[in-house]
C-alpha cells in the first residue's frame, strides 16, 4: 500500500491522501469525498500509471465537491446564496449543471427541483414518528420553486432566502466526469478502449460507472451496501457496462400511525412522495443517467415500476 500525495491546491478540503493498493490483478485507489468512500479500480495498468490516474481522480472529485457542496463557506454555491437576489457570475460547468437541472425540472413536471433543499429544515428522517408542522412546511415552500431562479450562460439570480442544492446530481456527475477524465488521460498515452488492454471502474459509495468489462472479459465485482436490509451489510455486485446508481435510503424514514414516510420529498407539497419505493437501483449508460432514472422512478411513487418498465436500455431493481 502506498499513499499518493497531492498539492494543497489539488486537495483544497485537506482530505487524507488517497491510498493505492493491489488486490489480485487489480489496483485500487481509495479516498474520501462527498460523504462517501470513493474507490477507483484499475485493470491492466501498472503502479506508475495508476498513481498518476489516482491523483487525477481524487483531484477531480475534490474539485467538483469543492465547487458544488452547499456546506462550504467560500465556493460558487455559497457566493450564489450570499448574492441575496443579485446576479452572480457562474462558470460553464455550473451553467451546464443548471441547464440539466432545468430540463429535469421540466421533464418531471416540477417534481425534481434543485431549490427544494430548504425543506430539510422541516424533515428529520430519523426513524421516529415526529412529523413537522404544516405551518413550517408552508413557510418553507415559499422559498422553493425553480421557476423563480433566473440564469444565463454566465450568471444566476437566486431570490433571497432560496437555496440551491445540486447534491442530487453532483455525486453521479463526479463519477462520470472522473471516468471521462481518466479515459482522456489514457488516450493521451495512446491507450484506447478498443484495444481491450485496460479497464477502469469508478465507485463512489455504490454509485458507479465502468469503462466496460475488465480485460479478461469477465465482470467487475464491487462490494456495495445493501440498502434493502436497512443495516450495514455488504453484498457483491457484478458489473460489466456503463453506470449504476441507487436512489433512496432504507434507513431514512418516519413512521406515524402505521404509515411510512420515505425521505424523497415532493417539492410541490413539501411532503414525502406517497408510496415511493424504499430504494431504486438503475443500471444505464452512465452513472448520472442511472441516478436520474432512479430519482425519477422514486418521484413516480406508486408508478415507479411503470416508469422504469417503459425505459429502454436500462436494468433496475426496486425495493419496496
Amino acid at each position: 500500500m502506498q499513499t499518493l500525495s497531492l498539492t494543497q491546491a489539488d486537495n483544497p478540503l485537506n482530505r487524507p491522501e488517497p491510498v493505492l493498493l493491489t488486490q489480485g490483478v487489480l489496483r485500487v485507489v481509495r479516498f474520501q469525498a462527498m460523504a462517501s468512500p470513493c474507490e477507483v479500480l484499475f485493470a491492466g495498468l501498472d503502479d506508475e500509471q495508476v498513481g498518476v490516474l489516482g491523483r487525477l481522480a481524487a483531484r477531480e472529485t475534490w474539485r467538483i465537491e469543492r465547487a458544488l457542496s452547499r456546506y462550504l463557506p467560500d465556493n460558487p454555491i455559497a457566493r450564489i446564496h450570499a448574492g441575496r437576489g443579485q446576479r452572480i457570475a457562474i462558470d460553464p460547468e455550473l451553467f451546464r449543471l443548471l441547464s440539466y437541472a432545468d430540463q429535469c425540472y421540466q421533464m418531471s413536471g416540477g417534481r425534481f427541483d434543485v431549490t427544494s433543499g430548504v425543506l430539510r429544515h422541516a424533515w428529520r428522517f430519523d426513524g421516529s414518528d415526529r412529523l413537522p408542522e404544516q405551518a413550517l412546511i408552508n413557510s418553507l415552500l415559499t422559498r422553493v420553486g425553480w421557476l423563480r431562479v433566473q440564469y444565463g450562460e454566465d450568471w444566476i439570480l437566486l431570490p433571497d432566502g432560496m437555496e440551491l442544492d445540486l447534491g442530487g446530481i453532483g455525486k453521479e456527475y463526479a463519477v462520470d466526469r472522473v471516468l471521462l477524465l481518466l479515459l482522456h488521460q489514457l488516450q493521451q498515452w495512446g491507450k484506447t478502449l478498443a484495444e481491450g488492454q485496460f479497464g477502469v471502474l469508478v465507485n463512489f459509495g455504490g454509485d458507479l460507472v465502468c469503462s466496460g468489462p475488465p480485460p479478461d472479459g469477465q465482470a467487475w465485482h464491487v462490494g456495495i451496501e445493501d440498502a434493502r436490509r436497512g443495516e450495514v451489510a455488504i453484498q457483491t455486485l457484478s458489473h460489466r457496462h456503463g453506470g449504476l446508481a441507487t436512489s433512496g435510503d432504507a434507513r431514512r424514514y418516519l413512521v406515524r400511525d402505521g404509515k411510512r414516510y420515505g425521505h424523497i420529498l415532493d417539492p410541490r407539497t413539501g411532503w414525502p412522495v406517497e408510496q415511493a419505493p424504499r430504494s431504486v437501483t438503475v443500471a444505464a449508460a452512465t452513472c448520472t443517467l442511472a441516478g436520474m432514472m432512479a430519482t425519477f422512478a422514486m418521484l413516480h411513487g406508486a408508478e415507479a415500476e411503470v416508469f422504469l418498465q417503459a425505459q429502454k436500455n436500462i436494468q433496475y431493481w426496486i425495493q419496496r
Partner: protein, 448 residues
C-alpha cells in the same frame, strides 16, 4: 408526472440531457467528431525547389461540421501562390537560346549550357470543395460532393459520390465511387497549334513576328472531361490492423497537352552539326509546341495497411501500381511510422516513386522526325513529368496535442527526383539533359 404522459419520452429526453451534461459541451469529454461543432484544420504549406525554381505558399483550411454520429459536412478551401520557373521542354545548348514567352509578349534568354526554364510561371489558385456524408440505413453510407477550382488560366468543376456497404458487423466495407469533372484551360496567348514552330522575334519585323505567332495559335481555350470510378474494400483484420484495397479507373477526354511546353528540333544529319539545334529559314533555332493524345485511360491498384503496435505506435504502409494507355506505369511505396510520446508524436515518412516514360515521350525531335514542318510523329512531349523518373522522399512530422482537440504540427519533407532517358546525339550528348530536382516542403498545421 402527468405533464408528460409518455414515460418513454421522458427517458429518452433524460438520456439526451445527461449526454449533453457529460459530453458535448464539457471540455474534458469533448472529442473530435462530436455533434454540433465545427472541427477546423488549418495548415500552411511552403514548397520550394532547392535551386529556387518554383516556390509555393499554400494555405489550406478544412471545416467539418458534425451533425450526429455519422452525418457530416466538410468544406475545404485551398489557396496557392506559385512563383518560379519550370522546365520548358527545350534542350540545353552550347549557344545561348532565346524563347518567346507563352503570351507572345516578350522574350527570355537562357545562357549556353543552361537548362531552359520558362520563368514566366506565376500563378495563384483558389479551390473550394464541399462533401456531405451520411449513413443510409444501418448497412449503407453515402457521400456526395462538389468541387471547384479556378486560377488565372484554368478552371475545374467536379461532382463526386460514393456509396459504402458494411458487412460482417462493419468489419468489412465495400466502397464504390464515381467522380466527374470538367476542366477548361485558356492560357494567356491562346492554345498553340500542335507541332507549330514557336515564333521568334530575331531577324524579322514585329509585324512579321505577330503574323507568325498568330498562325501558331488555334483559339483561346480548350476543355477536357474526367471520369473516375473507384471500387474498394476495407477490412478490419483484427483489433489493431486495418487493410484497404482499391481499384480505380480514370478516363480523360479532351485537351491534355501542356500549352507551355515545347520541344527542341535537333539536327540528326551526320557531320559537324550533329546534335545542334536545327535552324529554320529565318535563321532561328526551331522549337515546336508539344502534342499529347486527346484521351487517356488509367488503371490503378492501391493497397494500404495500418497497424497499431502494442505500445500505441502506428505503422502505415501503402503500395500503388498505375498503368495507362500512354505507356506509363508507375509504382509508389509509402511508409509512415508514428511514435507516440505522450502528448506528442513523431512521424517519419519515406516514399519511393518509380515511373516509366510515355510512348510519345522524347527529350527532343530530330530533323528527320520534324520533317520540315510535317512531323512523322503525331504526338510528342519533352515534359519530364511524362519521362522515366525515380523520386525519393524523406519526411518527418512532429505533432503536439495541446488538448484532445487542439493539435499543432510541423512537417518537413525533402524530395529528390532523378530523370533518365536518351542521352542525346552528337553535340547534345555533352549537355545535361536530365537535371535532378530537389524540393523541400515545410508544413505548419493547427487543428482545433
Amino acid at each position: 408526472m402527468q405533464l408528460i404522459n409518455d414515460k418513454r419520452e421522458i427517458g429518452l429526453a433524460l438520456t439526451a440531457a445527461t449526454l449533453t451534461l457529460l459530453g458535448v459541451n464539457a471540455p474534458l469529454a469533448e472529442a473530435k467528431g462530436k455533434a454540433g461543432e465545427w472541427d477546423i484544420d488549418t495548415a500552411v504549406l511552403f514548397y520550394s525547389e532547392t535551386d529556387g525554381r518554383v516556390s509555393a505558399v499554400e494555405p489550406v483550411a478544412e471545416f467539418t461540421r458534425n451533425y450526429d454520429d455519422d452525418r457530416k459536412l466538410t468544406l475545404k478551401a485551398v489557396a496557392d501562390a506559385l512563383t518560379g520557373a519550370s522546365p520548358s521542354g527545350a534542350t540545353p545548348s552550347d549557344q545561348a537560346q532565346t524563347f518567346t514567352r507563352p503570351s507572345g509578349k516578350g522574350d527570355y534568354t537562357v545562357s549556353a549550357n543552361e537548362n531552359p526554364l520558362d520563368n514566366s510561371f506565376h500563378d495563384t489558385r483558389g479551390a473550394l470543395s464541399a462533401t456531405w456524408s451520411s449513413p443510409l440505413g444501418d448497412d449503407y453510407a453515402y457521400s456526395v460532393g462538389a468541387y471547384g477550382s479556378g486560377e488565372y488560366d484554368y478552371m475545374s468543376l467536379g461532382l463526386n459520390g460514393t456509396i459504402s456497404r458494411y458487412l460482417n458487423n462493419k468489419n468489412t466495407t465495400l466502397n464504390a465511387g464515381l467522380s466527374v469533372s470538367a476542366d477548361s484551360i485558356s492560357p494567356e496567348g491562346g492554345i498553340p497549334v500542335a507541332f507549330s514552330r514557336m515564333a521568334l522575334r530575331a531577324n524579322k519585323t514585329e509585324e512579321a513576328f505577330q503574323t507568325e505567332f498568330d498562325a501558331s495559335r488555334q483559339g483561346s481555350s480548350d476543355n477536357k472531361t474526367l471520369i473516375d470510378v473507384l471500387l474498394g474494400v476495407t477490412q478490419v483484420v483484427n483489433r489493431s490492423t486495418i487493410m484497404q484495397f482499391n481499384y480505380s479507373l480514370s478516363m480523360a477526354d479532351g485537351y491534355m497537352t501542356d500549352p507551355f511546353k515545347i520541344l527542341s528540333v535537333i539536327d540528326d544529319t551526320p557531320g559537324a552539326g550533329l546534335g545542334t539545334n536545327a535552324i529554320g529559314a529565318d535563321g532561328n533555332a526551331i522549337y515546336v509546341y508539344e502534342n499529347r493524345p486527346d484521351s487517356r485511360m488509367k488503371h490503378a491498384l492501391y493497397w494500404q495497411t495500418r497497424h497499431m503496435l502494442d505500445n500505441g505506435d502506428v505503422i502505415d504502409g501503402s503500395y500503388r501500381f498505375m498503368i495507362d494507355d500512354w505507356g506509363i506505369s508507375s509504382h509508389t511505396v509509402d511508409v509512415h511510422y508514428r511514435y507516440m510520446m505522450g502528448k506528442s508524436y513523431l512521424e517519419p515518412h519515406a516514399r519511393v516513386y518509380l515511373q516509366s516514360e510515355a510512348d510519345f515521350y522524347t527529350r527532343y525531335l530530330t530533323t528527320t522526325e520534324y520533317n520540315g514542318g510535317t512531323p512523322t510523329v503525331t504526338e510528342a512531349t519533352a515534359d519530364y513529368r511524362l519521362g522515366e523518373m525515380l523520386s525519393g522522399t524523406l519526411g518527418l512530422k512532429w505533432g503536439y496535442h495541446l488538448t484532445e482537440d487542439h493539435e499543432v504540427s510541423v512537417r518537413g519533407e525533402y524530395m529528390k527526383q532523378t530523370s533518365t532517358g536518351d542521352e542525346g546525339i552528337g553535340a547534345l550528348a555533352t549537355q545535361g539533359l536530365y537535371p535532378d530536382t530537389d524540393a523541400f516542403w515545410l508544413q505548419l498545421g493547427y487543428t482545433f
